[in-house]
Every structure is written in structure tokens, then in C-alpha cells.
């Protein structure tokens, strides 16, 4: 596709890119506003939410850097467990988040790598910044590999894999979402 020749296909691709990015910005806004139930509703009922354990490996063994689903993970949730986490935050007794952490989710480098008409595979980068109490600060940068399903003119997250740029997690917990 030449860049100097606008076409229907290129315009459609641009609109799709815009819609996906817009979806992510709205999602990030929900998380930063602690509107977790609305955030949860962005996931399909069969969704998986996975954050593997990462290990420093030599280059020749880099295929073993991340654990796989079924192995040990920081998150390996279905929708029910994700809902349990959201319910936990709303009990008023979830001490690690009361007083609530302050978070800001930045989503960037959004790339649609596949689209079969029903589902899109989207890779993006994120920076989740958290401060807590007086002077506690956490910063997580990583990538998300999502499957977004087209439902009712919008998207639902059918699968999310979160890859952090840390091996030893440099924070005391993961009481927030990515």
C-alpha cells in the first residue's frame, strides 16, 4: 500500500487502529479511577488473564524465559477468579488497597498483528505507575498480548498475557491490574 494513495482499506485500518486505542484508553481510565466492576465487564466470560514468571536465561535458552500457562504464574485467572479479585477490592477490608494506591496506566505502541474479522490480536506496551501511602513508588513496564473479540460494535478482552520487564518482581505485591 503506497502512502500517497489513500484507499478504503487504509482508511478502514486507521479507523480500526483508532478504535482499538480508544478502547485501551477507556480501559486505563476505568482502572485509574478504581472502577473495577466496569473494567471487569470488558472481559468475555471465557477470558484468561495471565502474567508468567520470567527468568534470566542465556540467549541460547531464551525460549524458556517465560513460564507457560499451566506452570507457575503471577496471574493465571479465569473470569471467575478475576471477579473474585474485584470483589476482594470492594470488601472495604482489602488492606493493601485501603487507602487505595494511586495508579496511572499508560498504554502505547499499539499494534494490531492479526484480525480474522471476529477477533484481533493486539500487542501493546504499558507503563503502570503506582504510588502508595507517603513515599512508596512502583513502576512496571511491559507488554500486553491481547485477543480482542468484536462484540456489539466494540471489543471485549478474550485473552490477555502480560509480560513484565522484571524477573525478580521489585515490588511487595501486585494488588493492581494491568
Amino acid at each position: 500500500m503506497g502512502i500517497d494513495q489513500p484507499s478504503q482499506a487504509r482508511i478502514a485500518a486507521a479507523v480500526r487502529q483508532y478504535e482499538v486505542e480508544r478502547f485501551y484508553y477507556d480501559e486505563a481510565a476505568l482502572l485509574d479511577a478504581h472502577r473495577y466492576e466496569e473494567w471487569l465487564a470488558l472481559f468475555t466470560d471465557d477470558a484468561r488473564y495471565f502474567m508468567p514468571v520470567r527468568r534470566t536465561r542465556m540467549q541460547r535458552e531464551l525460549d524458556k524465559e517465560f513460564t507457560q500457562p499451566g506452570e507457575v504464574a503471577f496471574f493465571d485467572d479465569d473470569k471467575m477468579l478475576l471477579a473474585g479479585r474485584v470483589a476482594k477490592l470492594q470488601t472495604g477490608r482489602s488492606w493493601a488497597e485501603d487507602p487505595p494506591s494511586r495508579t496511572r496506566h499508560l498504554v502505547t505502541n499499539v499494534r494490531i498483528v492479526a484480525d480474522d474479522g471476529k477477533e484481533l490480536r493486539v500487542e501493546s506496551n504499558f507503563h503502570v505507575y503506582r504510588t502508595r501511602l507517603r513515599s512508596e513508588e512502583d513502576s512496571w513496564i511491559g507488554s500486553r498480548h491481547d485477543v480482542l473479540r468484536r462484540i456489539d460494535g466494540s471489543f471485549r478482552i478474550a485473552d490477555r498475557k502480560i509480560f513484565l520487564e522484571q524477573t525478580v518482581l521489585l515490588s511487595r505485591n501486585l494488588s493492581n491490574f494491568f
Binding site: M51, P52, V53, R55, T56, R57, M58, E61, K64, T67, Q68, G70, E71, V72, A73, F74, F75, D76, D77, L81, G84, R85, A87, K88, L89, Q90, T91, G92, R93, S94, W95, A96, T167, V168, L169, L170, S171, R172, N173, L174, S175
Partner: protein, 456 residues
Amino acid sequence: MTPTTTDVDELVSLERGEVDRRIYSDPAIFEREMEQIFGRAWLFLCHESQIPAPGDFFAAVMGRDNVLVVRQKDGGLKAMLNTCAHRGNAVCRADEGNAKSFLCTYHGWSYGIDGRLLGVPGHKDFYAGEVEKNRLGLTPVAQLASYKGFVFATHDPKAPPLEDYLGATGRLGIDLIAARGDMVVVPGIQKFVVDCNWKIAVDNLFDWYHPQVSHASAFRSGALGPPPERAGGYEQIDMAGVNMDSGAGIDLPVGLITASKFDQVVVIGEYGHGIGGPTASSSGNVEVDSSWRAAAHARETLGPVGVEVAGHPSIFPTTWVTVVPVQLSLRIPLDPTHTEIWWFTFVDRRLPPEAQRLMVMMANRVFGPAGVLEQDDGENWSQATAQSRGLASRRVKHLVNMGLGRGRVVKEHGLARIEGLTSEHGQRWTYHAWAQWMKGTSWEALRAATTPGDLL
């Protein structure tokens, strides 16, 4: 402060059940711990199932020493310091993997997987062939041993053999995993840093007083299991009439509150090992399936006391075993106020894949930094550590006096146990042992000082 023997006795009072808070932040005390505890104790490195093939290695930590545990060609194990004999650089920078040799990337000295120095670049031209290769391998740990596949090492050549060090209490702690079946570690060791002193993370493992409050949100929300609405409903914690700001009490699913009041058993052993928590037959046992305890092998290995233990074993100083989920955790001190927590997760290789998958899911869900239980622990530990730094705050004693003087020690089947309700016997025993270790006495004297008496 640099503590002397007398000072150590003032830091921990077994009689009053009090601990001086300086032990959670004082750098001089931390340095002495590195020497007297982490320089002497047998420390858990890894499980043999993690490194099955020759050349498989796992990078472990002993105090502040980085150690490589390596499977040998003859099937044996070696553990050596991860530091080049020449100028100190690490010879391996991966967390785990398989290696044919270890190469120092500074000047190219290379070592076999057994630690022998194989190659020195310029050996003939620059060193005139005079490098004593036989003398300059990677430094092995003083002692290395495996108990039922659980690999430990010590820096102290005079330390008693591993099985003696573990004693009946420590061995039972490991048997509570090993006797379940053909246990292997699942890929993925969770590692994370909590800004707390390591002892606060250790004393928590005996603590069956905190779950009802610390973990109220997990129990209430159904994040751990079926929501209470679908189980037995709620009941109120006894907050002695004092409720939260909102006016609400803390209500929890039926069973959990009473669980902490039900039968508990604390086992205490030489060198400071201990086990604390509910008995297997009490309603406080949260094991999903206890049927493994009925197998002849398990009954025989655990013995009549051990088979009833469903609490948390602690192998002094930093190894924690949990039977639900089946995991082993390390609390690795980084500095006085930072601790790295590692989680090893086990499954029984004989179980069907689906059952193994459930064991892993349970572990992922409960513990680790995102675990619905553990995510609320760190802040308590961090804040308790932080308050041990204030000039006035640190003069307030850390209390471990629940059940003080009421723990009658029953000695049967080689184990010393205390039965009763929720208590702080386990914590008291750990801090008592800590103080004895810090005195730097002989192994014989240490053993004598950490042999259970008749009352705790």
C-alpha cells in the same frame, strides 16, 4: 550496636515474650546475623527435580553469597560460589538453565560443571604456565546434602550433618511435602522483594491469629473459594466491641473465625525449627484433600504426631513449608529492611494432569505477590519494619506473648509438641532460637540451648 552475648539476651525475652524492635532494622545486628546465622545454618538451595540432567544449574542464595547448584555427569550434585577465582566476576549470570561449562566473561577463565578450572587464556604466554589450575577452581560450599530431594548447603564445615540439623521437626517439615507422592517442582520460581525485615516475614508463618483480619477481604470475597453467600453465611469476628470506622464489624465466612480457635498443634525442635497451625482433624485444616495422609507410606513416614500436623513448618532460619498449597518459601535477607521472597511450587507427578493443574492453580491464586492472601501481608510487614526505626517507636516491645507460660510441652515419638488454641508459641520459640544463634556459641551449646524444655 554490635551485640554481645549479654546484649542478645536483652533483645529477646523468652520469659516475657518480648522482642526488642531494634532487631528489625539495626545494621550491626544484621551483619551479625549474616555471620552467625547465615554463615552457619543449613540453607535450602533448590529441589533436585529442578536440575535433572547433567549441566542443569540453579542459581541460589546463601546469605549474601551467590551459589550455583549443578547436576554432575555422574548424577551427583555440586554447589559452588558463583565467583571467578581470578578477579571475582560471576561465572554464570542466568537464574537457571543448562551449561556445558561456566565462562568468566571478564578474562575468559573457564570452569567445568564440577567447578574445576579448565582454561586460562594466555596461560603459557602471560603466566609462564604457572597458574595452579588444580588449586583455583570455583570454591565449593563447605557442606552440601540432599534430604529426600531437598538440597541444602552450609558455609560451616563444622555444622552437624543435614539430617541431624533438621532433626525430627525439620525432617517432618519436609516430609509433609515429600511423603505426599512423587513430588517435583513446577517451572517458575516466584521471586519478589518486600521492604521488611526477614524475621517479620518468618514469624508470620506461625501466625494463625492474623488471617481473620489481614486476609478478611480474601475470605469474604470468594476470591479463595465459593462466596460465603453460597456456603455457610457470615459471622462476626470478636473485636472486643471495637469496630471499624464505618461502624461495621468484620464479618467472615462461617468456619474461618472459629477455625483459628480450634485445635492447634505447635511442634518445636532443636536449632529453632518449628511447626504451627491447625491439626489435620480440626475444622481449621484448610486442606482440600487430606486423603494422602491415610496412605500407609505417609502414615509411616510422618508418624502419629506428624500425620496430624496441618500447619506451617519452619526450618530455621528462612525456609517455610506450606501444605496448602504444596509450596516451599524462602525469606532471603537483602539488608535489614528488605527481604526477597521466593516460592517453589510442588505437584505429585503420579497424579492425573488435571489434578496437577489444580495444585498449581491453587498456588498461583493464594500465595506470591498477586496471591489473594499474600498481597495483603507485605504492607503489614513493611510498616512494622518501618516503625522499628523510630527512636521512640523502637523502644516499644514486639510482643509474642500469647499463651505465654501455658504451653505444656509433650515429648512423644521424637517430637516436642504443644496442643491448644491459637498461640504465639512458635514465634516465641523462633526468637529464642535466634538469640541463641546470635551468641555465636559452639554447635553443642547451641543445640543444648535450643532443646525444648517442659513449658513455653
